[in-house]
């Protein structure tokens, strides 16, 4: 196996599992340390720089970071990364003086962003600070897109959206509210140097089953219903509600229904409980509010009498897997199940829709109705039109939309500077020793063995009374501090200098998780089986260094390293050092 090149930013970046898993590569351990130090504003700004909407994401992010968290591999649960982000947003001071100022002199380029959601606003932010004149067109009266229209207020209050969208507007971004774009051709006729499309995936999938039309008055498409609720057009629902679908939208639907008068609200899902698309914590919240989830039931028909919905008929299925692990749902042959209800909410998926984009203007769509894009640059077949967010590659989540917004902004910047789009500005990195004394590091290397802290919530009775009262109360200062101590500081990297090593084995002996082995070199697969603790996860890298006197190599399995620094404390020669790794992910305007 070849020696590891830790000067490649990707190597150590991947060791910081949470940051690597975050589409926007938020420096998680760094902001957690700032929270621990009580500097909430600094923690907020670290987030703001990467993910633009810390307060929003701290409440409703899909948290790809948490399943990736190293803590989850050595402890029961990962660090509550997402809710610590909210702590930064909740407790910060006025941070407006920390925000960048757009240059006085604009660069003369005009950019149109269509849609006022997270992707568009990210593009607007990144480009505005570079001197672009950005105009955001949104059909609503306030920006935020689906964050405002589809996420229930009890999870994400308007005040948070207003604040964080406001920061972007304050950068000199022109926001045209209540402005419905009906034609891309018309937009392109305007004098725009580039156009960004961030219109989301606005169409909820319907269930075209027998009875759908006859009982239409009480069958609602989930995301439309949610936005009607969000804007106050819908304020009540029947007592018995069935929600079809197992994703996060279904969870929002059922919990909203509970708050609008639904007493017997149930979720019915085709798949098994584990395979549901909803995040585990969202399922938990629904169950916590007394909403049962019924699995392996496929909707067959809506039953109705006298033009009124009476219930839904389901077929019982079971999951079968073929050789390749592909699942198919097979009817069990048992009698169908009928569930009575007053209303049905259909939350079985979202689709993209671009009725306002003419098909003869040179912008190609694929057979699924998605724009043909370069996946890296997000440029469409019309060179000055770019896409991002759910509109680009299909529905995902807010943090992915933000990440795509950053990428699109880089592309637009390169495009306007007439540079090749595929030559992206590289990430840069920095490594700084954290050694302060013999046993002293500038990070807290004592590993907390505490369990994850629960986030305090409102009592169910109180929460169900008002659809606008926020359910989660967030960590208080004490809980937040305790939770920060669970972070393993994965960005404080173990850096090994073979020239200094005397092969005394002190690091091998002290390592609590037996990550380090000195052995003869070999092929990676074979080497993995020979380590002190055999390394079974090929996704996790081996850090290999050669140049030792005995001709052996040092192999460190990155998988369960606790970054406790004990190897470095025990090393008599300083061959091991703990160095803080900082990766600077390029944003628009960075040097190529």
């Amino acid at each position: 196996m070849k020696p590891t090149d830790i000067s490649n930013p990707d190597y150590l970046h991947k060791v910081v599992d949470c940051q690597w898993a975050c589409p926007a590569h938020t420096p998680v351990p760094e902001y957690i340390r700032q929270i621990a130090a009580g500097d909430f504003s600094a923690a907020y700004m670290i987030n703001w720089n990467s993910n633009v909407f810390p307060g929003i994401l701290g409440r409703v992010c899909d948290r790809p970071c948490e399943p990736a968290c190293r803590r989850g591999r050595v402890d029961k649960e990962p660090v509550a990364i997402c809710r610590l982000k909210r702590v930064a947003a909740d407790f910060k001071d006025d941070i407006r003086d920390r925000l960048p100022r757009p240059p006085e002199k604009k660069n003369g380029k005009r950019i149109a962003c269509i849609g006022g959601g997270p992707a568009s606003l990210t593009v607007a932010r990144d480009l505005a600070v570079q001197g672009y004149q950005v105009t955001v067109f949104d059909s609503g009266s306030s920006p935020g897109g689906m964050m405002r229209s589809q996420i229930p207020k009890f999870r994400l209050p308007d005040s948070v959206i207003d604040e964080e969208c406001g920061y972007i507007e304050d950068l000199g971004v022109e926001l045209r509210r209540n402005h419905w774009i009906g034609s891309l051709r018309e937009v392109l006729a305007g004098d725009w140097d580039a156009v960004f499309v961030g219109t989301g995936a606005p169409r909820g999938r319907d269930a075209d089953l027998p009875g759908r039309n006859q009982a239409a008055a009480h069958i609602h498409v989930g995301i439309d219903w949610l936005s009607n609720v969000a804007f106050g057009h819908v304020t009540s629902i029947g007592k018995r509600v069935i929600v079809l679908g197992g994703g996060n939208t279904a969870m929002d639907c059922c919990r909203s229904a509970r708050r609008l008068g639904g007493e017997d609200v149930r979720v019915v899902v085709r798949s098994g409980f584990e395979e549901m698309k909803a995040s585990p914590w969202e399922k938990e919240d629904a169950l916590h509010e007394g909403i049962p989830i019924h699995n392996f039931l496929v909707q067959k028909a809506f039953t109705h009498a006298h033009g009124r919905l009476t219930g839904v008929l389901f077929e019982k299925v079971r999951a079968e897997y073929d050789d390749k692990g592909r699942r198919s749902l097979v009817p069990t042959g048992e009698p169908d199940v009928h569930m009575e209800c007053d209303d049905v909410l259909i939350a079985i998926g979202q689709e993209n829709a671009f009725p306002w984009i003419e098909r003869d203007i040179g912008l190609d769509f694929d057979r699924w109705g998605l724009p043909v894009l370069n996946a890296q640059t997000l440029q469409s077949t019309l060179p000055r039109v770019f896409f991002g967010g759910d509109a680009a590659l299909g529905p995902k989540n807010i943090i992915t939309a933000v990440a795509q917004g950053h990428e699109a902004a880089i592309s637009i910047d390169l495009f306007c500077r007439k540079l090749p789009l595929t030559q992206r500005p590289p990430a840069t990195m920095n490594l700084v020793s954290q050694k302060m004394g013999i046993h002293e590091w500038s990070y807290d290397n004592q590993v907390s063995e505490d369990a994850r802290r629960k986030v305090p919530v409102r009592s169910i009775e109180e929460a169900l009374k008002d659809i606008k009262s926020e359910f989660e109360l967030g960590y208080d200062f004490k809980l937040a501090c305790a939770e920060t101590a669970r972070c393993l500081n994965c960005d404080v990297a173990t850096v090994f200098k073979p020239k200094l090593c005397i092969e005394c084995d002190a690091c091998v002996d002290i390592c609590p998780t037996e990550c380090i082995t000195f052995t003869r070199n070999g092929e990676e697969d074979e080497l993995r089986g020979r380590l002190k603790a055999p390394s079974c996860d090929p996704e996790q890298a081996l850090y290999l260094a050669e140049g030792l006197k005995t001709g052996r190599v040092m192999v460190k399995d990155e998988n369960v390293c606790l970054h406790c620094g004990m190897c470095a404390e025990r090393c008599p020669t300083g061959a091991w050092d703990m160095q803080k790794f900082q990766v600077n992910i390029a944003q628009a305007g960075a040097e190529v």
Binding site: V74, H439, Q446, A506, T513, L562, C564, E569, R570, T573
Partner: protein, 351 residues
């Protein structure tokens, strides 16, 4: 050295032995020795050996004297019996304990000062008596606790960290053990766990006096050029006579080695020692040959390591003295104190 306790967090798939213990379960308190001390590697090797042999921690008694080495029993087998005795007096405490209860596994840990200077008499007699034990000397050639004066095992001509040349002749404890009747004698190096761990395992399963001289560099006072007990020097001059694999009776692993290169020794308890020949033709059952080999190689400046001698007949002090099988604490008052009539009968027998 470090001030922090090792975090208890562990990978979900951390290896477990037949008793369900992880290696971490065989550890002790956090070591307070200098960073890089060879002794810590020996502690780790003892942990590994006990883990591999599925030893129940409560069936082990670890005893030591005074010195850096004698501190180490605190750093391994935290759930075993322990006795930190007077300087150089570990062998007699261990002998007494072994007489009282032969059902425990006795592990004596000592240093070159504790065994070759103040305790050399005790060392000699414990070997002579054939106490069933594993006696490990963590040999660094200096008095580390008193800042690095030469110990009795320092080679003649060795240079100290301050530049002083040692003019005294060294004591070779392995040689002494061979001469005094130890039935399992080995030498190893703390920087070579591949060799050391099987040697400890073989010793723990050996039914008689087992002695291992482990060269263990003192990183603080004896790891410089001019020292014969530094990591570099030992690596350069290490002349291993064999490589050992210890195979438990239950395991049916037959390693395939070229004919003639493997020597099989069945110990008294059924464990099998597989000795792979390294370089020289060496017969580990020949005590006199072993002593000659040691002398010859030492004269050439080599450090002979490996299993130097093994006699697997399983004779020990209890066999020699024909002692009672049961531990004294299980015999009961009536048996231990049979009364005045029994005493009279005994006296009459001696008249």
């Amino acid at each position: 050295m470090t001030y922090l306790a090792k975090p208890k967090l562990l990978a979900a798939d951390a290896p477990r032995n037949a008793l369900g213990y992880t290696r971490r379960d065989y550890e002790g308190a956090i070591s307070t020795l200098c960073a890089g001390c060879g002794h810590d590697s020996i502690s780790a090797s003892i942990v590994q050996a006990c883990f591999d042999l599925d030893i129940e921690p409560h069936k082990v008694a670890k005893l030591s004297g005074i010195g850096c080495s004698s501190k180490t029993p605190d750093y391994f087998l935290g759930n075993s019996h322990g006795f930190n005795s007077v300087h150089g007096r570990m062998p007699s405490v261990l002998t007494g304990a072994a007489l009282a209860n032969r059902n425990l596994l006795y592990l004596g840990v000592s240093g070159d000062g504790d065994s070759a200077s103040i305790g050399i008499g005790q060392f000699a007699h414990a070997m002579r008596r054939g106490v069933n034990m594993t006696y490990i000397v963590e040999n660094n050639g200096v008095y580390g606790l008193t800042k690095g004066q030469f110990s009795a095992t320092a080679d003649k001509g060795t240079k100290s960290k301050k530049g002083v040349i040692n003019s005294d002749s060294p004591i070779d404890l392995a040689m002494l053990a061979l001469q005094l009747g130890a039935t399992y004698v080995a030498r190893s190096f703390s920087g070579d766990k591949e060799q050391l761990v099987p040697l400890i395992k073989g010793a723990l399963r050996h039914g008689g006096p087992a002695f291992i001289d482990v060269i263990s560099p003192c990183v603080t006072f004896n790891n410089h050029a001019g020292s014969t007990k530094s990591y570099d020097y030992v690596r350069e001059h290490n002349a291993a006579v064999n490589r050992l694999d210890v195979i438990l009776p239950k395991a049916q692993i037959e390693a395939s080695y070229p004919p003639g290169s493997l020597r099989r020794v069945v110990q008294h308890d059924g464990s099998i020692l597989h000795l792979r020949k390294v370089g020289v033709d060496y017969d580990p059952s020949d005590r006199i040959g072993a002593m000659n080999h040691l002398q010859e190689r030492q004269a050439l400046g080599e450090i002979v390591t490996g299993l130097l001698y093994v006699d697997s007949s399983g004779q020990d002090m209890h066999t020699h003295l024909n002692t009672v099988e049961k531990p004294l604490n299980q015999l009961g008052d009536a048996y231990l104190c049979p009364g005045s009539k029994a005493l009279e009968a005994l006296n009459a027998m001696l008249r």
